[in-house]
Amino acid sequence: MVETKLMKGNEALAEAAIRSGLQAYFGYPITPQSEVIEYLAREEPKYNYVLLQAESEVAAVNMLYGSGGAGGRVMTTTSSPGFSLMQEGISYIACAEIPCVFANIVRGGPGLGTIQPSQSDYNQATKGGGHGDYNIIVLVPNSVQEMVDHCRLAFELADKYRTPAMLLSDGAIGQMMEKVNLPEPIEYKPNKPWATTGKTPDRERNILTSLYIKSETMEEKNKILQEKYKQIIANEIRFDEYKTDDAEIIITSFGLTSRIAKKTVDIGREEGMKLGLFRPITVWPFPTKALAEIASRPQVKFFISVEMNAGQMVEDVKLAVCGQKSVHFYGRMGGIVPTPDEILDVIKEKEAGRD
């Protein structure tokens, strides 16, 4: 039975993880996401997941490696500086193909920055903040409800593809309370024959490694990974469209700003402007084809990507649109959430400036 609650995004994420069969959580406090570990600490006596406050994010990501590699359904959460510290570990996890879930509740950077919400870790999440050729599945919730839904989905995709999957959320969604429908808890039964649980006589020993010292085997491994990424691109792209059918101007936006963009579409439409919203739900894999198709429609005049950063997803939009139409950008930084009005003003300006 679905339960309806008023919950903070961070707490909803924690509860969703429990209901998805969480077996181990390792994390280190950082604003604006410490509620995740705090919630799990409070609930711990009721369940039998492992909960450990690590000595650092570097330790946390490597504990995740260990317990995910031992077959567990495992998660860590952090915010921007902490996620930077995890990059080496993520690169290892991606190569060793260990399923696990991350959430980065993004705050404004660079550096220590601000604890206010931001979307400025888009590139880091989607282009690989760590070294080497790898990708991780990146889901971008835009509501407390999606924190829950994407959490479950991330666990499933992680297992399905033996890959890290992450929620790229932000401080606003993490801190805000909204109505949320919590799904039934599942009983999770891992089926992970590759896990290092002790070599029983019926199988060869299991090894989890990212070491491929010879160029040839390394290239082989890279090809296996790239093949997997192709599969994910083929199967797991998710996005949302809002009034794009007849739209002349397409706003692209993810996460929190997509809500504001939606509002912008409504206001604009009231003023007679044919606006539409394209919202990627997975930003890796990015819905390139769908966007390209929209770009090819004759009535579409231009795109504008609205983000809370200096212009990051806009490059993926440009890659998709590929010169068919112009692609503009509007962004605010430092935790400032753009308003529908200011977005509309920018759109009008671009519209006027077109030749």
Binding site: L6, I115, M177, E178, K179, K262
Partner: protein, 178 residues
Amino acid sequence: MLQEMVFAGFGGQGVLSMGTLLAYSAMKEGKEVSWFPSYGPEMRGGTANCMVNISDELISSPIVTLFDVGVVLNLPSLKKFEPRVKKDGILIWENSIIKEPPERKDINIYGIPAIEKASKELENVKVANMILLGCLVKLINIVKKESLMTALKDTLPERHHHLIPLNKRAIDMGMKLV
């Protein structure tokens, strides 16, 4: 209709919980709601606030810069949020401890000596927030009184349930003050 509200005061004055109570009540009535707190070291300075949006439609941003309603319990909050109430909006201010009254002429201003009343008449200064919430609900009629009452039970931790009657009296008192 979308109502964008802010509740602000010193930490300990209960501004976060008045926002929660309101948001929860509205949600139970089937409305869309969002509640967004100030967080981090900002709180250490001694002030806290939360933004509450209530609407019939999905809410776009939990963070807004201009408000339909502001409820302020201390001077720094008054200074900060008075300019951010929309024209013709509502500003409710605690006027027993705030000594400098608001100055705007283009908004509806209600000065309520909630702290004095709470400590003198209800003998518990902590429920000043509920008095102000009573005023607010009376003024904008956004949730039913009964919703607030049941919300008290749902949102207050068990160990504070003995305070529910007092909170109810405070809300009632507030509703009568405007």
